[in-house]
């Protein structure tokens, strides 16, 4: 396979479509603001541009060749300027596959080559937009062979060997789809319901000056908002169902391989030794039902591709099932650590902080809505229990070589990190914290080309110090 090859001609069409997609906004602006009278010239012009794109697509397909030579994937492309990109196999982190509708019709697959240090808008890696599955299998096989230096156990793209760790059940899929963006809908349902209550609660008698018409209008608006939100939610449910159908996690060699998708099949590979941290997220709605999601932060992956930094491994699952499922594969991670919470004196700081955040909203409400703005004082009442919840949820756990930090913003997030993967650790102490013997701890891990990590505010000072000690390599 050392002679240069071209991709499947469908790639030309895909190139064209992509270019048109990239140009659609400026083009649309040009059409809308350019002139008011649509005449033949415009039509011809648009058609000409489209044909130009098609020609460019075909030429760029024609000029794009790839080959495998001397343990490197060698790609040459370029319309005017000839580019050559040689990627040594050792540098390739993973091959991710996806199949769009066009690819599926012709039995093709899109292969994205992820390398370690590629930064700057995903420029670093290569993309084979449309090649046959057999070809992809050959590349994969050669990659595996080059990497392990022994005869590959011939993993084909269709059915990669390896043990299945997790297969999403239908029930979980439905749960995932319904609980991912659900809060807005529920809030609006409550809102609409409250307005329906005006038969029970005499709103009109309470606010004499609010005319009947306005009350009806408000109810109508609430209902309309609810319907729109409901439709949006239903659409997102369908989209999620399609996106996450056939969800499967496998362990193949030293990698986790995730496949999913109904219309567009996608496959991600996460090398286990590149995992920087594990994160368990429970959004409030899911938390009520004891559900959570688990993702891993991976080093490398391309800068432009967010999905390759923080990879959802278990999109939604009963929280107590996570350790049994993942611990055998994530060596050294304790996924259900016993956390130590915060001292009592930090509760006041949490509540105070909540109020500070609410204050600007209240002031705005008072300025804009006058007396009605007084209602916004309710925010203070709501923020206090929320702060209490954040206070209750925050905590940490130190265990040999791993650190767990948990905190709540909106969702409750638990981050598990190993000492040798933590890039830096910071301890912060403000004068107020000092008085109450509290400190804030922040730990940073690498995630893709950037940073992520965990933060716990207002920990007990001694606890924070113990975490700091733990991280210091020159303990005296």
């Amino acid at each position: 396979m050392s002679e240069p090859k071209r991709m499947h001609p469908i790639a030309a069409v895909l190139n064209t479509v992509r270019q048109i997609k990239d140009m659609i906004v400026p083009f649309g602006v040009f059409v809308i603001f350019g002139s008011n009278n649509f005449d033949l010239g415009y039509l011809v012009g648009a058609l000409g541009v489209a044909i130009l794109f098609l020609v460019a697509g075909v030429i760029s397909w024609y000029r794009f060749t790839y080959r495998i030579e001397e343990g490197e994937l060698r790609i040459e492309y370029g319309l005017f300027v000839k580019h050559k990109r040689y990627i040594p196999f050792e540098r390739i982190q993973s091959l991710d596959y996806s199949e769009g509708i066009l690819q599926r019709i012709f039995g093709l697959v899109k292969v994205t080559v992820e390398t370690a240090g590629s930064t700057g808008g995903g420029k670093g890696d290569a993309e084979l937009v449309a090649i046959t599955k057999k070809e992809a299998g050959v590349i994969q096989e050669m990659l595996v062979r080059a990497k392990s230096q022994k005869t590959a156990d011939a993993e084909s793209l269709e059915e990669t060997n390896g043990s299945v760790i997790y297969r999403m059940t239908g029930k979980e899929l439905v749960l995932l789809a319904t609980t991912s963006g659900g809060m807005g809908v529920i809030l609006s349902a409550v809102f609409a319901f409250a307005f329906q209550l005006d038969e029970v609660i005499p709103y009109k008698k309470i606010f004499k000056d609010v005319s009947e018409y306005a009350a009806k209008g408000m109810a109508f608006i609430a209902l309309a908002v609810f319907i729109v939100l409901f439709l949006a939610w239903a659409a997102s449910v369908v989209a999620t169902l399609v996106k996450y159908a056939n969800y499967k996690v496998k362990k193949v060699g030293e990698d986790l391989v995730i496949t999913r998708g109904l219309l567009e099949k996608r496959q991600f590979t996460i090398p286990l030794n590149r995992i920087q941290a594990v994160r368990i997220v429970e959004n409030p709605l899911r938390q009520i039902f004891g559900l959570a999601s688990a993702s891993v932060h991976s080093a490398g992956g391309s800068a432009g591709n967010v999905e390759s930094w923080k990879v959802l491994v278990l999109p939604v699952i009963k929280k107590d099932k996570i350790p049994a499922l993942l611990e055998p594969y994530l060596e050294g991670y304790q996924l259900a650590p016993a956390l130590k919470g915060l001292p009592r004196q930090s509760l006041r700081r949490y509540i105070f902080r909540g109020w500070i955040m609410a204050a600007p909203l209240v002031i705005l409400a008072l300025v804009f809505f006058k007396e009605w703005g007084l209602l916004s004082f309710l925010l203070f009442a709501i923020s206090a229990p929320w702060s209490w919840l954040s206070f209750k949820d925050a905590g940490f756990c130190l265990e040999d070589d791993s650190l767990t930090l948990r905190a709540r913003g909106f969702s409750r997030q638990t981050v598990m990190m190993k000492k040798k993967k933590v890039q830096s650790l910071t301890l912060v102490e403000s004068p107020f914290q000092k008085k109450k013997e509290l400190s804030t701890i922040t730990a940073a891990v690498k995630s893709g080309a950037g940073a992520s990590g965990g933060k716990v505010m207002d920990m007990d000072k001694d606890d924070a110090q113990s975490v700091y000690h733990w991280f210091s390599r020159e303990e005296s």
Binding site: N273, E429, A444, S472, S476
Partner: protein
């Protein structure tokens, strides 16, 4: 007890920060003047003038005198065999530990002002974060850069 970092940054940093503060003060003065002049011409309420003057003076005191002094007093760092520790912050004190094995590279940087005073700043980068020591004497910065990069190389390990 973890050792508190001991090394102070160059005393000349204080001068540089004061100069920077003075430049900021000049800009504030211009803005203040820009308010006072129309206030006099258009007979704006009289309290505006003393308020603006007070704000300008307060800013001057903070930017030229108080903040640089405290900032310099609080800035400590220490480079040990296996880690770099930084401690800084005027009111909120921040302490950071960066293990040597996580250091990716070290940069020294010098703006025109730092150069005039023979200073340089040193930035220690990990794969995820960047930590800056703002003003060291140039030989010291250079030494530090060489030292850290040598130690960091010894501790080569995959991310």
């Amino acid at each position: 007890m973890v050792l508190e970092p001991q090394t102070k940054i160059s005393e000349r940093a204080l001068t540089v920060w004061r100069v920077t503060g003075a430049i900021a003060f000049l800009i504030v003065l211009l803005v203040g003047g820009g308010i006072i002049v129309p206030a006099v011409i258009f007979d704006w309420p009289i309290w505006i003038i003393p308020a603006v003057v007070a704000i300008c003076l307060l800013h001057g005191y903070m930017a030229i005198w108080f903040v640089p002094k405290l900032r310099w007093k609080r800035w400590r760092y220490e480079v040990r065999d296996q880690e770099v520790e930084l401690q800084h912050g005027v009111f909120i004190v921040k302490r950071t530990l960066v293990p040597m094995i996580r250091v990716q590279h070290v940069d020294t940087k010098q703006g025109p002002l730092l150069r005039k005073y023979g200073l340089a700043s040193v930035a220690v980068s990990t794969a995820a974060t960047v930590h800056e020591i703002p003003a060291l004497e140039i030989e010291e910065a250079e030494q530090l850069r060489v030292f850290i990069s040598r130690l960091a190389r010894v501790a080569e390990e995959d991310v």
